[in-house]
């Protein structure tokens, strides 16, 4: 019997409905209330200094689990006060506390103290960089502000002023472009965003605990949390706690993988196989579409056991591989020889296929509008979602980006403006659109052009060092699109989310600056007070010097690794696979699976594959398709929460123990 053709749009629509456990019927409510805002500010400001401090001391901030802790605290307060918390409120709280706790934990996010250190390092002096650092990055190395370790000093006026303007403009760009791409990929193209329900269902389950009756969500969330606590203790807790007392921590399962690459080299030279031991990924396997996981795994097996050893190695395309190399070595050399270029090509094919699919959908919209169709599959938003005019958001992004390019041009006036415009208005939209689509289908970004800055600097023939200190206008708004889908799934109005962010961001920027000032006042950074920074910052300084001077002789190994023949092979072979699947009337999910899996390590996928098989062949039969798709995001959210809690708890115990136990050696 002939297979019936299903268009890509219809296929995505079906998957999106499967992940939309409430069947797309919901009312939208504002999640921003005064108590949510004050709660986020309070918890954020309480935890953010700790996160910054811990990052400098131990290199781990605990920021991953902190928002969930905040939400659990909030729901407990609501229960004790005999009030209820709505899921919209909890999701907004989750978002705002994530912003607050994560603000400034990376030394690069608020780079003033880093540059105050870097400008005075022997590395910067020996590489002849120290005297060339622009005034808008850091004050002079003998400035009073640096000697007094103070950020609240006029010497920092230009660095902080430029930083504030850039930061605020970047918020505007990320909000407007993320929204624009969401409308394109979720509303118009109907991509399912398979990982979005995890956050949505987590907030929903916790909200239900404050109500009168507990539903299946809370039970499933609790099962997931207990599984997460157990797995987190086994996988993270035991190594962290045993590391306090023993010189070598006990690992029940080797973290993060067991390498079998040298074991398979006899029959699959240049192939790699490292078994991932994070079996928490089984939960991801439950959630992601089965055809994608299965095709990814099959393509990865084909790559590592046939393509690499029998074709690429035999024809000496993979010419740097040598027997005895472990997974990391094999991956590095194989990437340099072939896969780096091939992967770039296949990423471009995602954009080509996406445009080929979405332009006809837009054309068909005119027909649809005449017939009065709306909702998903069109650009007409659902009523009450709090949408913005799409042209307005596009205009805001374009103006903000234009202003950004103008400021960067003023900062580095001799750098060709055409490159800045190319980054801003060609590369960024393409990059973001591709990753928005891959997030919508696979739940992860796939497109990254390596060393694009270095390539640009070579092509521009610009030799001044100041360009290395500028944040070029290449941005990726793709991952941010998932956030809008979660808002939609939780029934939270978009306007309340934007308002929350607009209100909290200026507050966070100011308070993060003040916290960094006080942390710097406590002791010099790096110093023995901040062991992690003391260990790693000198290495980072050397690395930074190497990068900033890497093109002085016009030679870069990574740039030489990018070869046109292999890029075009990746591009064309992916298009051929898409075309042939279309001819055979097979689902386009297969394309994303196959192309996503080519070149990958199958061992890293095994936990996810296990989850996919258990879900497909046991759970669906046990619970039924609809119930299972209702359960699994809630289960995954509970699991994430459990692992996060145990991780945060054990790391805190380990840190306290290390602070008070004096070892006799």
């Amino acid at each position: 019997m002939a297979r019936e053709r299903v268009s890509q749009a219809e296929e995505w629509q079906a998957w999106a409905q499967r992940y939309d456990v409430e069947g797309g019927i919901r009312t939208f409510e504002s999640g921003l209330t005064l108590k949510v805002f004050l709660g986020a500010v309070f918890i954020g400001l309480l935890m953010m200094p700790g996160s910054i401090y811990l990052t400098l001391v131990a290199g781990q901030s605990g920021a991953g689990a902190a928002p969930w802790v905040a939400v659990i605290l909030f729901t407990e307060l609501a229960r004790r006060s005999f009030t209820t918390a709505r899921r919209q409120e909890l999701y907004i709280l989750l978002g705002l506390t994530t912003l607050a706790v994560g603000s400034g934990i990376h030394y690069r996010a608020y780079p003033f103290v880093w540059y105050a250190y870097f400008i005075n390092t022997p590395q910067a002096a020996s590489y002849e960089i120290a005297d060339k650092i622009p005034y808008w990055v850091a004050p002079a190395k003998d400035a009073i502000a640096i000697a007094e370790r103070s950020l609240l000093h006029m010497d920092w006026f230009w660095p902080i002023a430029i930083f504030l303007i850039m930061k605020l403009l970047s918020e505007v760009r990320y909000i407007s472009a993320g929204y624009f791409l969401f409308r394109l990929t979720a509303d118009l193209e109907r991509l399912p965003y398979p990982l979005a329900p995890i956050s949505a269902q987590g907030a929903t389950a916790l909200a239900e605990t404050t109500g009168r009756g507990e539903t299946w969500r809370w039970r499933v969330f609790s099962i997931g949390s207990m599984a997460g606590l157990f797995w987190g203790f086994l996988y993270i807790g035991i190594p962290a706690l045993s590391g306090v007392m023993m010189s070598k921590p006990i690992e029940i399962l080797k973290i993060p993988f067991i390498d079998f690459t040298t074991s398979i080299e006899g029959f699959a030279p240049s192939g790699m196989f490292a078994l991932a031991t994070d079996f928490g990924q089984i939960l991801q396997g439950f959630v992601l579409p089965f055809p994608i996981i299965f095709c990814e795994f099959a393509a990865a097996l084909f790559t590592q056991f046939f393509l690499n050893p029998q074709v690429l190695y035999r024809f000496e395309i993979l010419h740097q591989w040598r027997p005895g190399l472990d997974m990391r070595g094999t991956q590095l050399f194989n990437n340099l020889d072939f896969w780096l270029s091939f992967d770039m090509g296949k990423s471009f094919s995602f954009a080509a296929v996406g445009l080929a699919a979405s332009i006809p959908i837009m054309l068909s919209l005119r027909k649809g509008q005449q017939k009065g169709t709306s909702m998903r599959g069109s650009l007409t938003p659902p009523p009450g979602r709090g949408d913005f005019p799409i042209w307005l958001m596009a205009g805001i992004w374009a103006s903000s980006m234009g202003l950004y390019v103008w400021i960067v041009h003023r900062m580095v006036p001799n750098f060709p403006v055409s490159f800045l415009l190319g980054f801003a208005f060609l590369y960024t939209p393409l990059h973001s659109y591709i990753n928005a689509r891959t997030f919508g289908v696979l739940g992860r970004p796939l497109f990254q052009l390596p060393y694009i800055h270095q390539a640009t600097f070579i092509l521009s023939r610009y030799e001044e060092i100041d360009i290395w200190f500028v944040h070029l206008p290449d941005e990726d708004y793709g991952p941010g699109t998932q956030h809008w889908r979660v808002l939609e799934l939780t029934g939270t109005t978009f306007t309340s989310d934007v308002l929350g962010r607009v209100l909290i961001v200026p507050l966070l920027i100011a308070s993060t600056l003040v916290v960094w000032h006080f942390v710097w006042k406590i002791a010099p950074i790096p110093s023995s007070q901040y062991p992690f920074a003391q260990t790693w910052w000198p290495l980072y300084a050397t690395e930074e010097c190497l990068w900033k001077t890497s093109l002085r002789d016009g030679n870069s190994q990574m740039l030489q690794a990018i070869r046109g023949d292999y890029v075009s092979a990746g591009f064309t072979s992916s298009l051929a696979i898409y075309g042939l699947l279309w001819m055979a009337k097979l689902p386009s999910m297969w394309f994303y699976g196959i192309v996503g899996g080519i070149g990958q390590d199958p061992g890293m996928m095994i936990p996810r594959v296990l989850g996919a098989f258990i879900g497909r062949f046991y759970m669906i039969k046990r619970f039924g398709l609809k119930r299972w798709f209702m359960f699994n995001p809630v289960l995954a959210a509970g699991f994430t929460c459990g692992v996060g809690l145990v991780g945060m708890g054990t790391v805190a115990i380990a840190l306290v123990s290390k602070a008070v136990i004096v070892k006799p050696f």
């Binding site: 749009a9 072979s573 075309g579 279309w582």
Partner: protein, 55 residues
């Protein structure tokens, strides 16, 4: 249109295979086949969205 799209994709895939096997995977013939494939894929989607009779 469906047949045109099928033919173009088929021709593009054949040229791509030929360029890999017999032309040392040089980028010019590959990009020629990519152009043919993209044309075929665009026609396929235009047909699906605008001209196909849906049940």
């Amino acid at each position: 249109m469906e047949k045109i799209a099928t033919a173009l994709i088929f021709i593009g895939a054949i040229i791509w295979g030929y360029s890999i096997l017999f032309m040392e995977a040089r980028w010019k013939p590959q990009m020629l086949s990519a152009a043919i494939l993209i044309t075929g894929i665009v026609i396929a989607h235009v047909w699906e969205e605008l001209f196909r009779e849906k049940r």
